[in-house]
């Protein structure tokens, strides 16, 4: 019996979004179907990976991944350059974790200095991510957005409690924005609506549905993303058609699986490979759910997921 391929057609399309400047600019999104089903939809741009760097040395990263950056991680500019030149990063994601009041509590001025150094060290697009502290992020990202004017960065994360300041700064300085909500389809949509109501172009938004790591609630993220994608493509909801960001590094690299030595847990096997496979499989899960942009830490895991994306295209 001949098999008639059951194709679905999609009413909607994901916005495509270009960030960075010059010939190194990167475009994500643009697909008009569910992930990697090229027999019924077109995938204009493959998912891309940004390598994470920080404004302070990553003292809280497990050795397995920290040691990769020994020698450069004391200087954000050198670290960024290392990612671009030695690791071939297409995007650098600068996390200003040192500005968190519970961490080094660096000031907005300190952050501006770091942002300026990093931007002049590399020509690939830069993402500027705050520490996750609601009030401090509003101050820091506002200053960082001004310092990065003209570079068309992605800045974030704007959350329900602080999006106004961050969106205003993004409009004034021509940046894209990450809108993060907490693992909920409706909250994600609501935040996108609030941001566009401020006059921000919805095509400049990237949605962060809040990532989780393999074994630590990843099935929630996975299903929330699948539902967001169906709302965008099947139900053609324009407020859900923004590209999806998965910022997996902080979740993956604080799991026990990425840090506990083999001597403590012999049944879990080699620590080195365990951390890398944890980040790789987490990333693979996110791209199958529709992720357009990943932020990751271990170059071996990045290589693995890039190879996987290559095989999927």
């Amino acid at each position: 019996m001949p098999f008639a391929i059951p194709k679905d057609s999609y009413a909607g399309k994901i916005n495509s979004l270009t960030f960075g400047s010059g010939d190194k600019a990167v475009t994500i999104g643009g697909e008009n179907g569910l992930p990697f089903l090229s027999f019924e939809s077109s995938i204009s741009n493959r998912p891309v990976v940004a390598l994470e760097i920080q404004d302070v040395a990553p003292s809280d990263w497990p050795d397995t991944v920290r040691k990769v950056y020994d020698g450069v991680s004391g200087s954000p500019a050198q670290w960024a350059k290392f990612c671009q030149d030695s690791l071939g990063a297409k995007i650098v994601a600068l996390r200003l974790v040192g500005t968190h009041p519970d961490r080094e509590n660096r000031s907005a001025d300190d952050a501006v200095k770091t942002v300026t150094e990093v931007l002049s060290a590399v020509d690939v697009p830069v993402m500027i991510i705050g520490s996750g502290h609601i009030e401090k992020d509003a101050q820091v990202l506002k200053a960082a957005a001004e310092a990065a004017k003209g570079k068309e960065c992605i800045i974030g994360k704007a959350q329900e409690e602080n999006y106004r300041t961050i969106v205003t700064a993004a409009i004034a300085n021509n940046h894209k924005i990450i809108a993060m909500s907490q693992l909920d389809v409706n909250l994600a949509k609501q935040l996108n609506i609030l941001i566009t109501q401020m006059g921000f172009n919805r095509e400049n938004i990237i949605m962060d549905p809040m990532s989780s790591a393999l074994g630590y609630g990843i099935e929630y993220t996975y299903s929330v993303m699948e539902r967001i994608r169906q709302a965008a493509l099947v139900q053609n909801d324009p407020m859900m058609q923004t590209p999806l960001l998965c910022d997996i590094g902080p979740n993956v690299w604080k799991t026990k699986e990425s840090a506990a030595p083999e001597s403590e847990l012999p049944e879990w096997g080699s620590l080195e490979e365990r951390g890398i496979v944890w980040e790789s499989v987490t990333a693979a899960t996110m791209i199958m759910a529709g992720c357009n942009l990943l932020v990751m830490r271990h170059p071996k895991a990045v290589e693995t997921v890039n190879r996987l994306i290559g095989e999927l295209m």
């Binding site: 019996m1 001949p2 098999f3 008639a4 391929i5 059951p6 679905d8 992930p35 990697f36 089903l37 090229s38 027999f39 809280d60 009041p101 519970d102 996750g132 693992l183 989780s212 393999l214 074994g215 630590y216 609630g217 990843i218 099935e219 929630y220 996975y222 299903s223 699948e226 539902r227 169906q230 604080k254 699986e257 012999p266 049944e267 879990w268 096997g269 080699s270 490979e273 365990r274 890398i276 496979v277 944890w278 790789s280 499989v281 990333a283 693979a284 899960t285 199958m288 071996k300 895991a301 693995t304 997921v305 190879r307 996987l308 095989e311 999927l312 295209m313």
Partner: protein, 445 residues
């Protein structure tokens, strides 16, 4: 095609005899429509009705039981796990080539036998071994199958050979273990079917491409084999995701019978981490059995964890065990906090406590997997039950100063809880959100 309850009801005797265990024929019809009951429960069904309903009630993807432990594969009913649970977790099978030396094979067997891990209370393991007849030699193949069947008596077996003579030689060593015979194709079909037919042994069939696979599946079915496992020859990541999607859609949405069977996926890559990433696609996108070329402990841990995550019931919250968890180097002077056993709540609270670097005791109370506010609203996370749990948990032996820190959202409970606990207990109110825990804990030190 699925029938509605009313359509089914029309074909029932309408006597409300209760012999099926339901009060009325309509109630039974509704269960049948939801695929939660089998028509055989009705003893008075006419032959015509039986045939009609039997065909309609057949699950769109057949379930097949394999291996000595009777692991069921297939019988999936949805494309997306948010619609309904994925039901039968895909077994992971380790591939062993019969060209490998006896010592190497013994090591593979040991790896399989020691692959069990405990993950949030579930025991997970590599359940199957696929023996591949690389040599083409029936004698060699049979010897390795024998070695595996004896060495890993609990593992399910996949006999992978396109040579019927090899299958015939090997199957004597495992016929009682419900093996999967894999490797029937257009050329060897008659001989392969003859081996399995009437023996209740499932047959894995291979044809490159979906049209050829559909033809082969129909042919095998026509020859009287009902337990079929499909391989469309998808080997690249792209082929896997696209072809498995088409097969599942065909079975579920188009009732395309030739594809109403479980799917077997072979992933083999030079790099083991990359192989794990490819196998993970199979777990998410519709493989029913996944054959991998190695199962290092770290790799099995990642794949079995992903499988557990993807196959959890989205309607039933994941729960963690009720007990007091020690975080960091907690001692009798460390703070004691309490929250509920919803796994996300636990993971997030635990993560933030770890971030704070302040060693703590974290009491996790069983409220059937609800979050703090929901459990409180449902009357499960209230002064009486919390007090009973803390008293029975032996918390008073862990901490010198009897103080319990309550989530900020249920601060209203602090007075009554302190009263119920008595015995010198003090109840303090913590922050509302987990991300405020580091600051809260550090301020106390």
């Amino acid at each position: 095609m699925a029938l509605s309850g009313v359509e089914i009801f029309k074909n029932l005797p309408k006597t409300n005899c209760k012999k099926c265990g339901y009060p009325t024929c309509l109630a039974f019809a509704m269960k049948l429509a939801a695929l939660q009951e089998s028509v055989e429960k009705c003893p008075d069904l006419s032959e015509a009705a039986k045939q009609f309903l039997g065909a309609a009630a057949e699950p769109p993807i057949r379930g097949i039981v394999l291996g000595p432990k009777g692991i069921k594969v297939g019988e999936e009913t949805v494309l997306f796990r948010h619609e309904k649970k994925f039901v039968n977790p895909c077994p992971i099978a380790l591939n062993i080539k019969d060209t490998e030396g006896s010592d190497a094979i013994a090591k593979h067997i040991a790896d399989v036998n020691s692959s069990e891990i405990d993950r949030v209370g579930q025991m997970l393991r590599v359940d199957f071994v696929c023996v591949s007849n690389e040599s083409g030699d029936p004698v060699k193949f049979a010897a390795v199958v024998k070695q595996v069947a004896e060495g890993a008596p609990n593992a399910g077996l996949i006999l992978n050979s396109s040579n019927p003579a090899s299958i015939e030689a090997a199957i004597t060593h495992c016929a009682d273990k419900k093996p999967l015979v894999y490797g029937a194709n257009a050329e060897n079909l008659d001989a392969m079917v003859n081996i399995v037919k009437g023996k209740n042994i499932a047959l894995g069939i291979y044809a490159k491409g979906l049209d050829a696979l559909s033809d082969l599946s129909e042919k095998v079915k026509g020859m009287g084999v009902n337990e079929i496992v499909l391989d469309s020859g998808a080997r690249t990541a792209k082929e896997m995701v696209e072809e498995y999607t088409m097969i599942r859609r065909g079975a579920l949405k188009k009732s395309f019978k030739p594809f109403g069977f479980p799917v077997i996926s072979f992933v083999s890559r030079d790099d083991s981490t990359f192989e794990a990433a490819v196998a993970s696609l199979g777990i998410m996108k519709y493989a029913s059995i996944i054959v991998v070329s190695s199962i290092e402990k770290w790799k099995a841990l990642a794949l079995l964890t992903l499988r557990q995550n993807i196959y959890t019931d989205p309607q039933v919250p994941m729960q963690v065990e009720q007990k007091i968890y020690k975080i960091g180097d907690a001692n009798e002077n460390s703070p004691l906090l309490i929250t509920t056993n919803f796994s996300l709540t636990y993971f997030i609270v635990r993560g933030e406590i770890e971030n704070s670097k302040v060693p703590c005791w974290l009491a996790i109370m069983n409220v059937e997997g609800l979050s703090v506010l929901t459990a409180w609203a449902a009357g499960k996370f209230v002064a009486g039950s919390i007090s009973n749990f803390i008293k029975e948990s032996g918390a008073d032996k862990l901490v010198a100063k009897k103080e319990l820190i309550l989530p900020g959202y249920v601060s209203v409970l602090s007075g009554s809880l302190e009263e119920k606990l008595g015995d010198g207990w003090k109840v303090s109110v913590g922050p509302r959100e987990a991300n405020q825990l580091p600051a809260f804990l550090k301020a106390r030190v």
